[in-house]
Amino acid sequence: MLTAEDQMAIEQRLADFLNKSEAQWSALVDKGGNLFAQSGDTGTLDLSILSALAAGSFAATHELAKRLGESEFSALYHEGHGQHILMSALHHECLLVTIFGEKTNIGLVRFYAQQVTVSLNELLKGASEKEATAEPLQLEGNFLDNQATIT
């Protein structure tokens, strides 16, 4: 579980990565498809769909690679017409998803992605060590009566 501080620190790293690489948007997503932190702009795209699909395609390709005997699987790259997607494996069941356009190129994005991956892994390691000793997630406050009903 990430604290508010962890999340801010991660978003800071992501913003810095976008600055250097001139990529458009970047996010830390877990392999279950949850969006943990993000930076940049995707316009009107639905980010939860983006995260679910990114986690799904990464998981499927990873599984494929495993069956081919590839134990190491660190990144997945999709080259589009105007927009490209790079997904990089992180530790602790997470991945870094980056979307970039014509302002930059895959070499540059990959280079800075490798750098930020190292510092994100450190942050995630710290967070998971804290989590090991932390109380389980409990939400303060009462759920609003009846509004806990989806309609």
Binding site: M1, L2, T3, A4, Q7, M8, E11, D30, K31, G32, G33, N34, L35, F36, A37, D46, S48, I49, A52, L53, A55, G56, A59, A60, E63, E93, L137, Q138, L139, E140, G141, N142, F143, L144, D145, N146, Q147, A148, T149, I150, T151
Partner: protein, 229 residues
């Protein structure tokens, strides 16, 4: 895994619809997408074959206000029911918070239902999880078909345990019982993460008498078993 996004003040919870091939998992999400008017809903994304069989998953996200100051985002997924897609089912279960197990009421599908329920438990173990920690509800779907197995038979087959799960009769194709099923799963989850599980949750063993399966007289704590985690 439940996750709080502090910057967007959002709680994210993942609910997976599980069950045998053609039992109606995708139909549940399609119906929800049509029925839900108040909650903020995303697009329904289906990774399916040309014949509308789920290949990877369906995905629908719903935003609701449940806790003062926070939005709860329920991420709904379905798995592909066909036997060959087991690896995919394991992947979709990653980070699951709650499960809706959909049972096909057709007599001829009983073996498939039972196998799918066993498969769910195996795949949870693969993900280092189990039905003891993961809140789940049962949905007896396709109650409209003429040769539907009787409810007490389904209860005996899928819900014959000390802490009975909440169970709902449904006709996913027309929408009967679909929202009730989701709301029960949603409340079980919120109760699990709440410091003060509210009366709403423990009191919902009969959320809607016309739809919910009435608890058997010898098991007073229907549904409560999953609440106090």
């Amino acid at each position: 895994m439940a996750f709080i996004n502090y910057s967007s003040r959002e709680i994210q919870l993942k609910i997976v619809y599980y069950g045998a091939a053609l039992c109606g998992k995708t139909t549940n999400l399609v119906t929800l997408h049509k029925q839900i008017t108040h909650a903020q809903k995303g697009e329904l994304v289906s990774l399916a074959t040309d014949a509308d069989r789920t290949l990877f998953f369906d995905f629908l996200s719903l935003n609701t206000k449940t806790l003062p100051g926070f939005t709860t985002r329920f991420q709904l997924y379905t798995v592909p029911g066909q036997a060959i897609y087991n690896t995919t089912r394991q992947l979709v279960l990653k980070g699951v918070d709650g499960i809706v197990f959909v049972v096909d009421s057709h007599w001829d599908k009983m073996a498939d239902n039972v196998e799918s329920f066993a498969n769910l438990q195996e795949n949870l173990i693969e993900n280092h999880l189990s039905l003891v920690q993961i809140p789940y509800v049962l949905q007896y779907n396709k109650r409209d078909i003429p040769n539907a197995a009787p409810i007490n038979y389904l209860e005996y087959t899928f819900n014959n345990r000390a802490n009975r799960a909440l169970a709902f009769e449904a006709v996913a194709a027309t929408g009967v019982g679909v929202l009730e099923t989701l709301n029960a799963a949603a409340r079980l989850l919120l109760a699990k993460y709440s410091k003060t599980p509210n009366a709403n949750v423990t009191g919902m063993s009969r959320p809607n008498p016309t739809v919910a399966v009435p608890p058997q007289s010898d098991s007073p704590q229907v549904g409560a078993g999953n609440v106090a985690a």
